[in-house]
């Protein structure tokens, strides 16, 4: 069999016939014991909802949504810092689209832009270079977000800024790490039996970063691709493990080592930050990145020390995002879900982000 078209790398992993065949294989293999599987990554949550995969699983097998949504775990104070910088005259804030509508304490970046702040949305971090060169008298701040998947791209932007001697670019770094978040979950609670590990974080880091989940916490782990057939195959692989192991379902893109150039770049420009306050999970030490000191001339936390002062801002009283991100509540458990909190008027990030559990439930839930 030879691959000649896009269809073979995408459609064949969305094939309904395969989803149903895997559902039967899972049913055949399942021994009836209650099992809670967490999919860490918001992208997987979205696939599960979009293709209605939970319906295909035996009733004792529960899927729990995890905190792998970098927009969802961003605490309000970091959004507010970005807004304060954007509102300063002579500053342009550059962001990926995902962050635009997430509410801070009083407003979102979209609201700030409507109010006159200069906020630019980019598809690629590298688009920041053109903005900086075209606006040499502005200070351009890149709002860096994402897990390990996206950190190498920010690193390339840092590298380019330095190589091209572009002095007016600064970085508001909010890159977070998967393993410390998962470790915090496993320490804080006992309701997760097995894990579907992220797809594209693993492309960069290699699957080896999840080994501790097996060796220290005795949980089975399978690294799955994003398509529905990938997820179903990963669930089958989890059930077929006799003793907990780390396995890779997403073999076409993931191995144990990951991307070496990407890892080297990240290491060159970033180091582990002391602590990051995760929405839902609370403060976790050594769970995020900061720019290395030698690049402090491009660090927004220093250039805009005032605006970047982080005072924890509590979530809306009725917002259940925190519990949802830990897998301890479902969107429908939230009193404001679909009423006071909708995609048009979101109270919390889980409703805004394309990977948020609430957004997925709102969009696809009524179809089930």
């Amino acid at each position: 069999m030879s691959l000649t078209a896009d269809t073979d790398l995408v459609d064949s992993f969305r094939d309904g016939r395969k989803i149903r065949a895997f559902a039967r294989a899972i049913d055949n293999c399942y021994d009836g014991r209650p099992l809670a599987i967490m999919e860490v990554c918001g992208g997987h949550t979205h696939t599960i909802y979009r293709y209605g995969l939970a319906q295909h699983l035996p009733p004792g097998l529960k899927l729990i949504h995890g905190p792998g949504c970098p927009v969802c775990i961003m605490p309000k104070e970091r959004i507010d810092a970005a807004i304060r910088m954007a509102q300063k005259p002579g500053v342009i804030l550059v962001t990926l689209g995902d962050m635009m509508r997430v509410p801070g304490e009083t407003m979102s970046l979209a609201d700030a832009r409507a109010g006159g702040a200069r906020v630019e949305v980019v598809y690629s971090p590298l688009d920041t270079l053109k903005i900086a060169l075209q606006n040499p008298h502005h200070r351009v701040v890149f709002f860096a977000i994402g897990f390990e998947t996206t950190t190498p791209m920010t690193a390339v932007l840092v590298e380019s800024v330095i190589a091209q001697k572009i002095k007016n670019v600064f970085f508001h770094i909010n890159h977070v790490l998967v393993p410390p978040a998962v470790r915090a979950l496993l320490e804080q609670q006992n309701n997760i039996d097995a894990f579907i590990a992220p797809s594209h974080v693993s492309v960069v880091t290699g699957a080896g970063i999840y080994q501790f989940m097996v060796s220290e916490y005795n949980r089975p782990v399978v690294v799955a691709g994003f398509e529905p057939v990938d997820v179903m195959q990963a669930i089958l692989m989890l059930l077929q493990q006799d003793t907990p192991r780390l396995e890779i379902q997403y073999k076409r893109n993931v191995d144990m080592k990951g991307g070496l150039k990407a890892q080297q770049l990240v290491n060159t420009y970033f180091e582990i930050a002391p602590e990051f306050h995760w929405r839902g999970l609370g403060p976790i030490p050594a769970s995020s990145l900061q720019l290395r000191e030698e690049f402090s001339s491009h660090d927004a936390a220093i250039e805009f020390a005032d605006e970047c002062q982080l005072k924890p801002v509590p979530d809306h009283k009725l917002c259940l995002c925190g519990e949802i991100l830990k897998g301890r509540a479902l969107p429908k458990d939230c009193r404001v879900f679909g009423k006071g909190c909708t995609p048009e008027k979101p109270l919390g990030p889980c409703m805004v982000s394309s990977e948020g559990a609430c957004a997925a439930e709102f969009k696809y839930g009524s179809l089930l």
Binding site: M1, S2, L3, D6, D8, L9, V10, S12, D15, R17, K18, R20, A21, F22, R24, A25, N28, C41, G42, G43, G68, C69, P70, V71, L96, D98, Y123, S124, P125, L126, I145, G146, F147, T149, T150, P152, M153, V156, E159, P198, S199, H200, V201, V203, V204, F226, Q233, L236, Q249, K251, R252, N253, G259, L260, K261, A262, L265, S353, S354, E355
Partner: protein, 77 residues
Amino acid sequence: MCLAVPARVESCDSEKETARVETFGVQRDVSTRLIDESLKPGDYVLVHVGFAMRKIDIRQAEETLQMHNKIIHEFDS
């Protein structure tokens, strides 16, 4: 946020570290700064926020699809 799409390499510029790729008929330029291996036209890459993240292992993809066919064979009604 972490969504990445497969794309086919149409041409590469190893000096500029970019490649022209195609996904579902749409062509665009991506950075190849993060790719460990060398790329050539006809290769497939995973694209995320304007970067090629990795060269897709087509042999592994084919093996995975063959495994799927086994499941269909055994469990299709």
